[in-house]
């Protein structure tokens, strides 16, 4: 059986997936992010069959990604790597995958159980988003829970807590002709002197999209449209709160703080309470014109 490497381009970063013993496949959301062979990928992922036993049994996790309902993953820190135990999202006592990330954050080893068809799916949720998150850390970028719409000139990012209207807002702008970059998870990265917003693979197929970052709105539902500019440390802290981060490590926090500070220096950040109809578009456009 021929083992074929898979190359992905996500937010302009190149990723090489390298099967070791079994063929690999990707989930449908990654389909349009597949690219041709890349000689020097930004990161490599070696894909192994089986879940090794006994790893990390004698050390405590440095980070637990879990809530009352779900257990996503645990992170372990050794002197030359980070280890990840990824739990099955249907049965949180079962390990879905184990992953090891090199100290330079460039090389992954991902261990997965084979499908009944004898294939590995190394970027099964939530492993894929974890890979993308750690890809941003050393690359002048950040991953954020937000939606973004693009009118051909400006990319507007809307971020907020779950239920605050990120998807609703992007639909309103889309009905006015804007392109939705994504309505849930974005990568913002520095390219040259500017910041750009990229979509990332989701559970559904979508093509790679990109927009220049023009403004960030911290949104919430309100009885009438209202807006207030947010600046300085408050802007940085408010935006950072919606970034996807594992704050067990000083380096990671410093890195995010520096990057978000850079964004907030160049990009207006505003608190936007909105009524979920088209009136918010004129309201925002008038505000930006002032």
């Amino acid at each position: 059986m021929t083992l074929k490497n898979i190359f992905l381009n996500i937010a302009g970063y190149s990723i090489e997936l390298i099967p070791q013993t079994l063929p690999i496949e990707i989930e449908t959301g990654y389909k349009y992010f597949v690219t041709g062979k890349i000689n020097k990928p930004d990161i490599t992922i070696q894909c192994f069959e089986g879940i090794p036993e006994g790893l990390f049994t004698d050390i405590k996790p440095v980070f637990e990604a879990e809530n009352d309902d779900q257990r996503f993953y645990s992170i372990y820190e050794t002197k030359d790597s980070l280890g990840f135990i990824i739990y099955n999202q249907q049965n949180k006592t079962e390990i879905q995958q184990i992953a090891i990330l090199s100290a330079d954050f460039k090389h992954w080893q991902i261990y997965s159980t084979a499908t009944p068809q004898g294939r590995l799916i190394p970027l099964s949720f939530p492993m894929g988003p974890i890979v993308m998150q750690y890809l941003t850390i050393k690359n002048d970028a950040v991953m954020i829970h937000a939606s973004c719409v693009y009118d051909g000139e400006k990319g507007r990012v809307f971020t907020g807590f779950s239920g605050n209207g990120k998807s609703t807002m992007s639909q309103i702008w889309a009905s006015d002709g804007d392109l939705i970059i994504n309505d849930d998870r974005l990568i913002i990265r520095k390219e040259g002197t500017g910041f750009f917003v990229h979509n990332t693979p989701m559970y559904y197929p979508d093509i790679p999209k990109k927009a220049p970052l023009s403004s960030i709105y911290l949104i919430s539902h309100a009885p009438e449209n209202r807006i207030k500019k947010v600046t300085g440390a408050v802007a940085v802290s408010r935006v950072l709160a919606f970034c996807i981060q594992n704050n067990f490590n000083e380096y990671i926090i410093d890195n995010n703080l520096e990057f978000i500070s850079g964004i907030c220096t160049k990009t207006p950040v505003s608190d936007l309470g909105f009524v979920p109809d088209r009136s918010v578009i004129d309201f925002v456009l008038n505000y930006e014109d002032k």
Binding site: P61, V62, F63, E64, A65, E66, N67, G232, A233, V234, V236, S237, L240, A241, F242, Q245, N247, F248, N249, E250, I253, D254, L257, E258, S261, C264
Partner: protein, 96 residues
């Protein structure tokens, strides 16, 4: 009243960044629940935070505050006490 040594110990569990005259404080944390629990201090709060260290005393800190911000000692003492109490309880809560 929160004592300074308690705050000195708690400070080790937080990462800070200066933005202009203000300070952002982010907790080092081992779980997702605390990830959004970051906060900011204004110029006066930043000055106090930066001047809390191992060898610091309340009286020295008060004197520094009075000379830096040109306020009367009585008001400064009252405000400093209130600030340290609030800071101590916030740090403890976010470090729990």
């Amino acid at each position: 009243m929160t004592n300074l040594s308690e705050i000195v110990n708690l400070k080790k569990h937080f990462v800070t960044r200066v933005v202009g005259d203000e300070l952002i404080i982010v907790p080092l944390t081992g779980n997702v629940a605390q990830m959004n629990a970051l906060f900011t201090l204004n110029e006066t709060g930043k000055f106090i935070w930066e001047n809390i260290h191992d060898s610091q005393t309340f009286d020295n800190l008060l004197n520094s505050l009075v000379s830096e911000f040109d306020i009367d000692s009585e008001s400064a003492q009252k405000d400093l006490n209130a600030f340290l109490d609030k800071l101590g309880s916030t740090l403890k809560k976010q470090n729990s």
